[in-house]
Symmetry: C2
Subunit: 394 residues, 2 copies
């Protein structure tokens, strides 16, 4: 049977349609930039993505040779879009950030520099009229972030905090299971932890412990337990985007002035639910499970790092009516290659393709809320940034 002419025309138009290419300018040649660059270099087919692709247009560092080394090490042939011949430029190295944000091949700047430089680096990109994906924590405080948002709006460019866990398929599957499929009933409470085995294993000059680098567990690891809270509780349909009623916290401080350990507990009265978030630089992560979401019909155990899980268990109560009943476990394995930053990059590319200025999955307002929570937690914990670190203060 011959397909109708209209369908043939449609198939031809689809297959001939080129994917939209996000042309990245990378600011900062540290570890997270390298993971991001390696991830967007992976073949798009490996994750069945055909509508968007990625290119590395420019890489910038304070030193040209560092940028050159970065390219030869992580993207000698650019990203997936370059390997697939969708663009004809090669990654260009710059010894300054200014060069990157002014490179005409760049349509989005990825800011992967140190936390304390985020505000100024993102500002540089936005003021050059470039779209910007800004590593988490977006800024040091809410005031810096709000200022960036105002610049982005003025220049009509895209801005997003790079909370990549929001785009992780395990996160999305769990969110759907809870918000749409009601798989564990009414949400009651969740526990989420992210820790790092850094204490006495890294020097006090390390970015994690150095006050002059805005170190500590809260800003570096805290975003991850919090993103689970935001995605599962704050974004729960019944919560109707109501901010947490109480945000309580406690800090254990290091002698350098940063936090070694912090707890944040958030209550959501509309759900009658509570989230216990913990983070520290004192201990290793749990071997198996660091996030647990408990509902009236069962619970979901997220395996592995809170930042990039690849597997989860649905533990269904056989009889949800009785106390302490028996369970039935089902483990779902969504193992993927690489660091998992490409899910976020693909989402950003789609936003750019569609002309969006903020991402519906990671809107400006939710970064504002997160930064305001961090401001409050630092204030309660007695963690004050060294003078001059914050470029904008409330």
């Amino acid at each position: 049977m011959t397909p109708p002419r209209s369908l043939l025309r449609y198939i031809t138009s689809m297959s001939s349609k080129q994917p939209f290419v996000a042309r990245w300018g990378i600011l900062g040649c540290g570890w997270i930039s390298s993971e991001f660059t390696k991830d967007i270099g992976r073949p798009m087919a490996s994750r069945n993505v055909t509508d968007v692709s990625h290119a590395i247009a420019a890489v910038g560092s304070r030193s040209l040779s560092k940028a050159e080394d970065f390219i030869s090490k992580y993207c000698p042939n650019g990203a997936a879009g370059q390997q697939d011949g969708l663009v004809d430029f090669k990654p260009k190295a710059y010894g300054s950030y200014k060069g990157v944000v002014e490179d005409p091949n760049v349509n989005i700047v990825y800011v992967g520099s140190m936390n304390i430089a985020h505000y100024e680096d993102a500002k540089l990109a936005l003021e050059a009229g470039k779209n910007c994906l800004l590593e988490k924590p977006a800024t040091l405080n809410a005031a810096e972030w709000k200022h960036l948002v105002s610049i982005a709006k003025k220049n009509d460019v895209f801005l997003m905090e790079a909370v990549w866990t929001r785009f992780n398929p395990v996160m999305l599957a769990i969110q759907k299971a809870i918000h749409e499929d009601n798989l564990i009933g009414e949400i009651r409470c969740m526990y989420s932890d992210l820790a790092m085995d850094a204490y006495k294993k890294r020097p006090n000059t390390n970015r994690l412990f150095a006050a002059e680098l805005g170190g500590g567990s809260l800003l570096d690891l805290g975003p991850y337990p919090l993103v689970w809270t935001m995605m599962i509780l704050y974004r729960h349909p019944m919560n109707q985007l109501t901010p947490p009623d109480k945000v309580g916290s406690t800090m254990l401080q290091h002698h350098t002035g940063v936090d070694l350990a912090t707890s944040i507990t958030l209550t959501f009265p509309k759900l009658n639910a509570v989230s216990f978030c913990t983070t520290n630089l004192l201990s290793n992560v749990q071997k198996y499970q660091n996030t647990r979401i408990v509902g009236s019909k069962g619970e979901i155990l997220v395996h592995g790092l809170t930042s990039r899980p690849q597997k989860y268990t649905i533990r269904r109560l056989l009889n949800p009516e009785i106390e302490d009943g028996d369970y039935e476990d089902e483990t779902i394995d969504m193992t993927f290659d690489g660091f998992g930053l490409y899910w976020e990059a693909d989402a950003v590319a789609r936003c750019l393709r569609d002309g969006l200025k903020e991402c519906p999955s990671m809107p400006h307002a939710e970064t504002t809320m997160t930064m305001e929570i961090f401001d409050k937690v630092r204030k309660e914990g007695g963690y004050e940034f060294l003078p001059g670190l914050e470029k904008v203060k409330a």
Copy 2:
């Protein structure tokens, strides 16, 4: 070979020496009293105890028939000491608490009544000149407790809060492993949770949810995560009995006014350690592990309920010098019969035998500290007792 005469004399004197018998008067015929009574009725030989024993001298309830039913159900033949013929009285039922505290056979009163009655019931016993073991939470607030201590001192009688988990062999083995054997190196942080699957499964008139009964998760379940903190961190030799520097908390409140969920985070700067304690009435307990203590050389995972564990895993880091190294697990099973309240009862009997007025393992000061922590947490969380519940206020 004939043993020397001196040794024979010694053996004869040991075997002929009668164990000291704690002669209990039970106030309150609820669930915890029944578990206590059943536990002290178990044969002393089943836990290899020969130096002390127990008898049930009296049981009191507001109604005589309830006390009679309790005896016929849980201790028709008294406790172990009666079954072994160490005392010749049988348990006597009273339709009032006054009868129990005045019964001449009673040398210690066990207060297992409702939380809101603890203060008055213990006061009755102490003023009658009787020793007293008072179920946890000792009282509703620190002021009530301090008043009880002053009465106990005036009457020169023994008083102890019944934090039975302190006498649990798993707790003691872990405390030794950490404090004496340095099995997991420097303590960095601990997580401890106790939850109950009661929400929407019990009516709001249940003691857990009723404001008029001083309900909520904090007072009912909170003592258990806290006792792990006290035993492992507060009592750590390097902490030198220094109270926690920060005690931060957050509460999710129920519409009845009690807390559905509470978190308490305590910092111990001398150890550079932090404890994250959580409790709620919203969710079931974790299937496997509810308390985790992390040190520089490994961690200890406590299996089962935080209140009465029977098993634990020592997870040793193969190379404690590197970040995120591999582990080796060793699980130690200390399974015991019954509810495990007899470990505490034996310790109390030894205190009485030795003429102590407070127990070194559960001294007055540590109950004071616990009650002051609860007072602070309630204040921060907005949990106020109904007028009249507190018999003594600060």
